[in-house]
Structure formats: structure tokens, C-alpha cells
Symmetry: C2
Subunit: 232 residues, 2 copies
Amino acid sequence: MINPMYLTIVEDIKQKISSGQLKPSDAVPSENALCKEYGASRMTVRKGLAILANDGYIYSIPGKGSFVRKPELNKYTIYYDEMNNSINTVDQSRLLEVNIIMPDEKLAGELQTTINKNVIVIRRLFYTEGKPVAYDIKYLLYSKGMPIVEKELEQATFPEMVSGSMSAFSLKKELAIYAQMPDKEVKQYLNIYDELALLVVEQRIYNEEKKPIGFCMTYFRGDYIKLKGSSD
Amino acid sequence: MINPMYLTIVEDIKQKISSGQLKPSDAVPSENALCKEYGASRMTVRKGLAILANDGYIYSIPGKGSFVRKPELNKYTIYYDEMNNSINTVDQSRLLEVNIIMPDEKLAGELQTTINKNVIVIRRLFYTEGKPVAYDIKYLLYSKGMPIVEKELEQATFPEMVSGSMSAFSLKKELAIYAQMPDKEVKQYLNIYDELALLVVEQRIYNEEKKPIGFCMTYFRGDYIKLKGSSD
DNA sequence: TAGTGGTCTAGACCACCTA
DNA sequence: AGGTGGTCTAGACCACTAA
């Protein structure tokens, strides 16, 4: 056999689901039935079903059976890196400001901290072939191990800045994406003289306990960014 | 015991990784070592390791061992539905056009078909509280089971339109997201009189063999859409 | 009570890697 | 040759569900 037996089971059931022979909320044959059908032991059958469950094809209810799941029609995976997107790569970065400030009330609320706690501000401009393509501003709660070398700060993405000071495995991250007209300040930074739309990406990073660690806004020239996502 | 043993193993190793006690590319103790450490059988240990591998914490190399994976810092999951986003819900939809056309060369290329094959066009306007918020245009290769009832077409999302004619499990989908200024046509449709940015979302749907089934562009008023994504 | 999935064991053989 | 992970077995006991 080229394939291990559990993969044969997986492929067979996937095929039955994809072809419509098994429809959402239909029952998959019981583990014992599959054992007999394939002449396999129960652990082997269960390994196959575990893979199907992990891939989102089925779910199991103790005492009842395994059933075909309704597919998630709206789910996509996106890889976001403020320095690289599907139509552009930042080849140069300029540090506009690195500072320690007291947050105003809005920022303090965003970071769930108080206005007398120090916050690091990092403002950068991203360039491609000498032209400014994005304006980036980050606010970080200080913690040990933060990069403070300018060369590092110029090149680091948001998660990278934080992952120096803690294991990146425990980070929770959120994105918000929207379109907006530039204000005067951003127009100046990005050399925008005529009408041009901005793509704005907000990033929030939390620790394991969902406490905010950092907040970031990146304003991309609309003609220099395209984000891509895909299912599976 | 409240937790099954394999979950204890999972939590222990996750904790060691999150705390930095085990770093990326470090070796996880071998299966036999874990068997002894927890007094468990090998299958139980392997079940724990399989979960860690599935969650992206470790990977295994036959003959060598299991190792801590570098976390994916840039990965996000986004749920996209042209009718619903994090700041707005479409409460009404108007069908502008349902038609069968011969594609021009650009569209034929996009759908990897020829200019003498029929293509369905569906153009819609989305409203919120009586105001137009998005202009939506879809091109579909015809196949059996397509919805052709107007009421269905008004309310269906792109994947829903296609999933009537085939199992949604076999679909591959892609998104592209960018910002753009509206042209005259879109300005009219969306009642835009002053400067307003558009968020444009392109959707592509493919069948199992990666052959295109449909292509869709949705132009959102920038003030009526915010897409959200998150890690894990 | 019979059937279901969830957990777990104590073996086995294999292919692979390192020394 | 000895250790590693990958596959597989033939049992076991449990909690849950349904008739």
C-alpha cells in the first residue's frame, strides 16, 4: 500500500462529502462499522476520523456519532506583514520618532493602561524605490527585552518588536482593515498631491491574558498595497 | 483527574514553550522519554504530540525527533461576508442586472474560459437604512443548480450562489483587498458627491482542480466597512 | 440494554537517522 | 546497533444516548 490505511479512510470519506454523497449533518458510519468495512482496528479508524474533524469536515458527539459539518463559507487566511504585500515590498524604512510619552485618554483606553504610565511611540515611513508608500505609527507598553537599537526598529514588523521580550506563541493579535482619505499630515508624509485613497490597517497585540501590549496604525498609499487571503 | 492525560501533556509542553523554557527549533523530549515521565503508553503520548503539532507548536521528523516550531507571526483569520462586516450590516439589496453575456478577453482570461462561452453577470447594490453602501458585480460560469430566482440572488453571498450547484467543501476561494478612489459610475451608484475612499474586495472561487468558477468585485463605501481578522 | 464516541494500554513491525 | 517517529492491533473501561 502506498497510503497508510487511515489516509485511505480519510480520502474515501472526503470524496463522499465533496461529491455530495454525504451532506452536512448526515451521519458518518460509526467507528465499529468503519472497522468492519476496512478491516482495521478501532484506533486506526479513529485516527482517520480525527483528521477529518481537524480539517473541518466532520464533528463528533459522544454517544451519538460523527456527522458532516457545514462548511465555513466565509473563512479566509491572510498573511499580513506591513513591509511586504502582494504588489509591493518595502526596501527602505526611515525612523521619524522613537519616544516615551504619557498616553492621552484615548490611547490609555486603547492600551487599557493609565495616563501616568509610560508608552513607547515609534513612527516610521516606509519607502519603495525611493518613494514613500506607507506611514506607520506604533504604541507599545514597555517591557524588558524591547528592541531599542535604531537599526532594529527600522526593520522590525510589529509582532517582531514584541516577540523579543516574550514568547511569540502566547501572543494574540487582531487586525482591522478599512479605506480612508488621507489627512493633511499623511498627505505630506506620503507625497500625495491629488486624490488618492489610503488603506488603513490597525494592529493590536495582546498577551496570553488578553491584556493589550501594543497598538499600531499603518496608512498605505492605495496604489502600493493589495492584501491577499485564501481559504484552506 | 479532571483532564485526560494527553491534555496534561499538551498543557505542560505548551507552557514550557510559552514561557521560553523550550525555544523554537529546540527538541521536545522523545516519545519514550515522555512515556516514562508521565507513566503513559506511547499512543497516549503521541495523541498529545499530535495536538501540539496540529496547533502549530511542534513538528516531527521521522528518525530524529520532535521540535518546537517558529510561530507564524503574520497569520490571521478573517471572516468575509459581503453583506456583513464589523461596522455594518446590509439590510436591503437591489438587483441591477442579471444577464448572460459573452465575456471580453480580460474576463475570459480571468475565468480561464473562451470568449464564446456564456457567463452569468449579476450586479447588485447593497443598502443600509436606505442608503447605498456597496456596489457588487459577479461573473459566474454557468453550471446546473445555479440559483436563478431573483429573491435568492438578492440575498445570496458569493459562496452561497456557487454552493447550490456543488458541494462547498471542494471550493477554493481567494480574496484581494485594496483601497481605491471611485470612478464616475460607482460614485453615482453609491451617492458619493465629495471625496470618499472605496474599499475594494475581489473574490475568486475555484473548484477542486483550481479551475475558476466565479469572479466578483465589491466596492464598499470606505465609511461603511471595516474588516477584522485575528490570530488563532 | 445496546450502541456510540472518548480514553488508554502494552505490545508489534517499519523506515529513518546517527554513530 | 540503538534511538527516533509512523503505523497498527486487539483488547479494555468509561460516559453518554436512545429505544
